[in-house]
């Protein structure tokens, strides 16, 4: 009996041993070859949603870019708006009416047809949602949209009630993507948790908040925009996305080959970069369009930064070059303006952002802030102490700035807060310096940050400017918004950028470069205009 | 070699913390099969170390420095653990000291006995269950079938000691070492168990080594005795000869100190006629409520009177209610019925505050001198504590009072600076007495004042108490289970059994011509009677 059992198990082992080498090279590898694994940092725990209209979390937008599609697309190199689901369009001279001529061969992954009615459903549903929850992110893209007129099954006219020069660019974003009508029949909550049906090359199989999501290829995809090289079905059959909050664990997974693309929010530090490169990884980088990582001062209520000289001294006291090379690496670009360089109408601020400690010291001396015995500056017995509010844990960069300012006698108090407290402090004006940023490949995005009439925090936007300067800035915002030619826009936004730097109303710190490390297997990783990836172009080699 | 045990010049020392203590210094003796040997000594004499050495169970800190220690012909002084293990149980059995803690609380007693049987007869011993029951029956346990399934906590102390004897017998050893086998038990139980053990051992021809501090036990049970002191044998020989004609001064001192032997000092008679009683119990009873509406009658109908300068003894075994009566006198318990008067004042229903003034006149000396003193208090602090509490004296006066108290209890004044752990048991009890005397009370309540002490120390403390009474005219209420102690101190005796008064009267009359059977039993159970009577 016992002998029999031993023989049987030996036979099983033998059989396994024989079959394993026989089948392993073909099947699993073929499977693996068309699966791409991406590790992002943590999921958004503040707003759990992958509903395109609500999402501002760029990691989600990377995924959505390949699931849902927009009327237009944007050229990553030139910033030009190019056809996608709309073959062409006309804009009325007053920039209030946009007529889109839609492709006729497009279907959603659930089989529903893409037509003018679907577009109208999408825009009207979004408008209705924005009315219900005005704080939602997509509302800023939709600003001014009034109604849609179906001219024929494949022609639609979108009518604005007020000018919105960014509207055309908005139609190219994931936020104004057109979802299948079925998605809009579902609730916003269901959409947030994955009921997102689009016309893109991939479908969402499932989304588990804080854990990950899985995309599968959609068969019969034929309507990629000119940005994408692969005009047919995606090369990859499956994409597995995981959210790994621990940096060292995330890096380890990549180094072990458990993950093909390592894609954290924050750029790689020098040591990590070297480690990754030693392990044959390719570093993909792109500056994210929108404002650079700027500090915004509070100039009101007789706070220290009400004095423009002090603001400019801070501007000069920050060593941006050293910041880029210390916190990140030698090759890291040094921030050069209010916007990141990939934003259309970006204007370089040149020497105005150069590190100039002597200049800063002189400005402070002139403003009456003199060095005390403890190497901090004082005026009328008051220390030059600035409160800088952080949402969550401080970064090495924050501490570096703190030390750079300390060298000039400026005390920077880093106040670590929860996102809730931080938002409350912004709204109440309890800060000297704060930060915020948004990503969109159009300069209009700055209005959601710095135009009190449409900013997320109007207090923050108002406090940034000295009272006299606010009307100037608002005029420039209006000029940019109502402009009908690119030249007009360039002029308005150029002047605005100059104003912000000259006033010390925006203090750039670093260029928001998004970096991803791709393993040797990954081929043809390319960035979209907004800093996302064309996943249908990517191939993985065995 | 026909000696079952042969010990030659055995030396054992303890090593701990860099200090070396020589516990056994050149002890030699031997034992024949079937013989009974008593090793007698006070604490620190090394008698327990010898017993442990015989079992091969010396603690890891102990070291055998020399000599020979042969059990059944095998020298185990430096033998391997394995060979010592083979001797244990089947050659040498043990009846340990304290039955309350010597059984594993989480195993049924049947299993614990069975374990020994399995060791003796092998793993698949078929007669296991029958043998367990038989052994239980043999050691005198009723209803063995039920008891075998019970756990130690469900058995009384006496029964547990019987179970331990059964365990020792189960291994069918040639020798049983009984280490103070009954000192934790009541006298009557003690006697019955020792009788039983003696009989069992005799019937099987097992040799017995009794380790004891009690000369009475040794005298009653042993063929030969070995008297030890500070690790050395001071005297050995046939029991009868040693006790009738001790050759060594220490043995003589021990005999003189042991109350059971001969010349017990008697209390000084006190004239009480015409005096008003100091403490008076009038038909006092105490009931304790149990859960589910049940009651336990701890004390019933106790009447007594204590006169100034006189000693009243309350005698009884555990559960007799003697401690309860003491606590009632102290106002720590309220009587359920009857009246209690102190110096004519009704104290039955007094609150703590109302009672407080009376405490100056009534003090307690507790049973266990090792727990009666705060380990952090110096002797001085302990002794003067009542004076401080009542705010009677201060500064130099306080110090002087402390010196005087130390003189009264015959301790040098330099001891005032010591901590309790730097004192011996007898010295601690003197400090406790000094503390009780601090307030110059009229009445001292003595709760088993010497039961935790060595025999010779007992005698000294009893002497002290007698002298203090003569000197200060203080009255005593003595609570004790030991009739010898009672005889040396008491004028009046109350015998209690399960809360009821058995007999009451003049000490001389109750102790010498007891009317009740229970009192006689108590008297007979006192060890040493056999020899004394013979």
């Amino acid at each position: 009996m016992r002998l029999q059992r031993t023989l049987a198990s030996a036979a099983i082992l033998l059989a396994l041993g024989l079959t394993l080498p026989g089948c392993s090279p073909s099947q699993p590898d073929a499977q693996a070859a068309s699966t791409l694994k991406i590790a992002f940092f943590s999921d958004n725990t503040q707003l759990v949603s992958i509903d395109p209209f609500q999402v501002y979390w760029i990691e989600h937008r990377v995924v959505l870019r390949n699931v849902v599609e927009a009327l237009t697309d944007q050229d990553p190199q030139t910033g030009q708006i190019i056809p996608w689901l709309a073959e062409r369009w006309e804009i009325s001279p007053d920039a209030r009416e946009y007529t889109f001529h839609l492709r006729k061969d497009v279907t959603f992954s659930n089989g529903e047809a893409f037509d003018a009615q679907a577009v109208k459903t999408a825009f009207d549903s979004n408008k209705a949602f924005a009315a219900e929850l005005p704080s939602t992110f997509g509302a800023t893209y939709l600003a001014g949209y009034d109604h849609a007129e179906i001219l024929d099954p494949h022609t639609i006219k979108l009518v604005l009630s007020k000018p919105n020069a960014g509207f055309l660019q908005a139609t190219s974003t994931t936020n104004l993507s057109i979802l299948a009508p079925e998605s809009y029949r579902k609730s916003a909550k269901e959409r947030s948790l994955g009921a997102v049906i689009g016309s893109g090359p991939f479908k969402i199989e499932h989304y588990t908040p804080e854990s990950g999501l899985k995309l599968v290829r959609r068969e019969g995809y034929r309507w990629a925009s000119a940005n994408v090289q692969n005009k047919g079905d995606a090369h990859l059959s499956t994409i597995e996305v995981s959210y790994v909050p621990e940096e060292s664990v995330r890096n380890g997974l990549f180094l072990q080959g458990k993950v093909d693309i390592l894609w954290p929010r924050v750029p790689f530090s020098e040591v990590d970069l070297q480690l990754l490169q030693r392990n044959d990884a390719t570093i993909q980088s792109r500056s994210l369009p929108g404002p650079a990582w700027n500090l915004y001062p509070n100039t009101r209520n007789e706070r220290i930064l009400a004095d423009q000289q002090v603001r400019l001294a801070v501007q000069k006291a920050i060593d941006r070059k050293s910041y880029a090379s210390t916190v990140y690496n030698e090759a890291f670009p040094v921030v050069d303006g209010v916007y990141d360089v990939t934003t259309p109408y970006f204007r370089s601020q040149g020497t105005k952002l150069a590190y100039d400690p002597q200049g800063a010291a002189k400005l402070l001396d002139d403003a009456g802030w003199t060095l005390g015995a403890d190497n901090y500056r004082y005026k009328d017995g008051k220390r030059l102490s600035l409160v800088y509010n952080l949402a969550g844990k401080e970064t090495p960069g924050d501490v570096l700035i703190q030390d750079q300012l300390r060298k000039l006698g400026i005390e920077l108090k880093l106040k670590v807060q929860t996102t809730a407290e931080w938002a409350a402090a912004n709204a109440a004006g309890n800060y000297d310096l704060t930060f915020t940023y948004m990503t969109r490949a159009d300069p209009i995005i700055l209005q959601t940050v710095l135009d009190p009439r449409s900013a997320n925090s109007s207090t923050l936007a108002t406090n940034t400017y000295a009272p006299a300067v606010l009307p100037l800035a608002q005029n420039l915002f209006d000029a940019g918004l109502t402009a009908t030619t690119p030249e007009q826009r360039a002029q308005a936004y150029g002047q605005l950028q100059d104003l912000l730097i000259d006033q010390g109303s925006a203090i750039p710190v670093y260029e928001r470069v998004w970096q991803a490390a791709t393993s040797k297997r990954v081929q043809n990783f390319r960035w979209s205009a907004e800093g996302f990836a064309f996943l249908n172009d990517i191939e993985v080699k065995p | 070699m026909s000696h079952l045990i042969d010990v030659q010049d055995l030396r054992v020392s303890y090593h701990s913390g860099g200090r070396v203590t020589e516990a056994v210094r050149g002890v030699s003796f031997h034992l024949q099969p079937g013989e009974t040997l008593a090793i007698v000594g006070e604490s620190g004499s090394g008698k327990t170390t010898v017993a442990s050495a015989l079992l091969g169970l010396l603690p890891t800190t102990a070291r055998i420095d020399g000599g020979r220690l042969a059990v059944a012909g095998q020298d185990i002084s430096h033998a391997s653990e394995r060979s010592k293990q083979r001797l244990r149980g089947r050659v040498v059995g043990l009846v340990p000291q304290d039955p309350m803690v010597s059984l594993n609380p989480t195993l049924s007693i049947g299993k614990q006995i069975g374990e020994s049987l399995l060791l003796r007869h092998g793993k698949r011993y078929p007669g296991l269950d029958a043998d367990v029951l038989e052994l239980l029956e043999q050691v005198g346990i009723d209803n063995p079938a039920l008891r075998a399934g019970q756990y130690p906590h469900e058995l009384s102390g006496g029964m547990r000691q019987r179970v331990l004897i059964a365990i020792a017998l189960a291994g069918e050893p040639q020798l049983i070492i009984a280490d103070e086998p009954t000192s934790a038990l009541d006298v009557t139980v003690q006697k019955r168990i020792l009788d039983h053990l003696e009989q069992l051992v005799r019937a099987r021809g097992i040799a017995l080594v009794i380790i004891t501090h009690d000369l009475g036990v040794a005298a009653d049970r042993a063929d030969r005795v070995l008297v030890m002191r500070q690790g050395e044998v001071v005297e050995s020989g046939i029991a009868r000869e040693v006790f009738s004609a001790p050759s060594h001064a220490y043995t003589r001192d021990l005999l003189a100190a042991a109350p059971a032997f001969g010349a017990t000092p008697k209390p000084v008679p006190v004239e009480t006629r015409g005096a008003a009683p100091l403490l008076e119990f009038d038909a006092v009873g105490k009931r304790f409520a149990l859960p589910r509406g049940q009651h336990f009658q701890a004390l019933q109908d106790l009447s007594l009177a204590v006169y100034p300068g006189q000693t009243l003894a309350i005698v009884g075994e555990s559960g007799s209610g003697k401690s309860t009566s003491l606590r009632i006198a102290l106002g720590l318990e309220q009587p359920s019925s009857g009246r209690v008067r102190f110096a004519g004042q009704e104290i039955g229903g007094l609150g703590w505050k109302q009672f407080r003034p009376l405490r100056q006149r009534m003090q307690l000396v507790q049973q266990n001198p090792f727990a009666a003193l705060d380990p952090r208090f110096s002797v001085y602090q302990s002794v003067v504590e009542p004076l401080v509490s009542f705010g009677l004296l201060k500064g130099r006066e306080l110090e002087q009072a402390a010196r005087q108290l130390m003189e009264q209890v015959q301790l040098p004044a330099s001891y005032l600076d010591r901590l309790p752990r730097e004192l011996s048991g007898g010295q601690r009890q003197r400090v406790a007495i000094a503390r009780a005397l601090a307030l110059k009370p009229d009445l001292l309540l003595l709760d088993e004042p010497v039961s935790a002490l060595d025999v010779s120390v007992q005698a000294q403390i009893l002497d002290l108490l007698r002298e203090l009474q003569a000197e200060l005219g203080v009255a005593y209420v003595l609570v004790s289970h030991d009739l010898a102690v009672v005889a040396s101190l008491a004028h009046q005796v109350v015998v209690l059994k399960q809360g009821q008064v058995v007999e009451q009267g003049e000490a001389r009359q109750v102790l010498e011509q007891p009317r009740e059977r229970y009192t006689r039993e108590l008297l007979e159970a006192v060890p040493g009677r056999r020899l004394a009577v013979a």
């Binding site: 990590d272 670590v416 | 009666a372 705060d374 040098p412």
Partner: protein, 296 residues
């Protein structure tokens, strides 16, 4: 023959008796302890940490906050004993300065827990009855709440920083003190010497202060020593989750937590502060256990 005449003559009795000083008693007790090498090493490390917490500048001349980008992530060397961090700050110096916050937080936490736990335990054990039942239920509730969650909620409620963290951690360890104190009070309350003191006319208050508390103190002190270590760890855990001291000051937990990103590339940034913390906590444990062994 009177008792007075029977005085035993003892050598030295003539010399006037003088009470020994408390200090001398302490030395008598400490003697055997100082012969244990493990205890001495642990004690030295803990004392070093305490001194460093009070005056870190005694052991290092470097500014703990001065960044030096050119010297970032240097491995340990004669110049930088623990190496440097990602901004070129000297880690050894930062560990010493971190001691201040960590020790302060731990002492504060344990102090808070000790006071309230001791209070609750004494009241509960001494008064007994209903009061005891109510207090023990409250303690049960505190026990039932997972410590870290409680601390997280408290910290978010009263703000970040060393003191809130200390309070949060302290609240979490109250139950241990309350239970231990109560058990000790209950045990000592029934001891003969307490009864003797009461019969000697002492009030409950003075019995409590003179007998119960001093004798209950031992196990509580051991627990306190152990809990200082536990508090250091709990604070470290909270710093790891991002609730630490106000930057650039960094307590040990923050140092370890910040350094963890360099575990592969520059392991010392996390390992050395971690090792230091482990050694200090271990030493505290060792000291506590040694005390415990002596008390037995």
């Amino acid at each position: 023959m009177t008792v007075l005449q029977r005085l035993i003559p003892v050598a030295g009795d003539a010399a006037p008796w003088r009470p020994r000083r408390r200090l001398q008693r302490l030395f008598d007790q400490a003697g055997p302890l100082l012969r244990r090498p493990g205890f001495v090493v642990a004690l030295i490390l803990v004392l070093f940490t305490l001194v460093a917490a009070l005056a870190p500048w005694l052991f290092t001349q470097v500014d703990p906050y001065a960044t030096q980008p050119s010297a970032k992530l240097l491995p340990p060397s004669a110049l930088h004993w623990f190496g440097t961090d990602e901004l070129g700050r000297d880690l050894y110096t930062r560990v010493l300065y971190g001691a201040r916050l960590s020790v302060e937080a731990a002492l504060l936490a344990v102090g808070l827990a000790l006071l309230s736990g001791l209070g609750l335990g004494i009241v509960s054990g001494f008064i007994g009855g209903r009061v005891d039942a109510v207090i023990m239920r409250i303690v049960d509730v505190l026990l039932a709440l997972p410590g870290l969650l409680l601390a997280l909620a408290i910290v978010t409620a009263i703000g970040f920083g060393t003191i809130p963290v200390a309070i949060a951690v302290g609240v979490g360890i109250i139950p241990g003190f309350a239970r231990t104190t109560r058990a000790e009070v209950l045990r000592i309350k029934t001891l003969p010497y307490v009864e003797a003191a009461r019969l000697g006319g002492a009030s409950w208050t003075s019995t409590l202060l003179r007998h119960v508390l001093p004798n209950a103190w031992g196990p509580v002190a051991v627990l306190a020593t152990l809990d200082i270590g536990a508090a250091i760890l709990a604070t470290a855990g909270l710093s790891f989750l991002g609730f630490g001291a106000e930057p650039p000051a960094a307590e040990w937990g923050t140092l370890i937590a910040n350094g963890r990103h360099f575990l592969i590339t520059a392991p010392w940034v996390s390992l050395l502060p971690g090792l230091f913390l482990v050694l200090v906590v271990f030493s505290l444990n060792h000291i506590a256990r040694t005390f415990e062994e002596i008390q037995r």
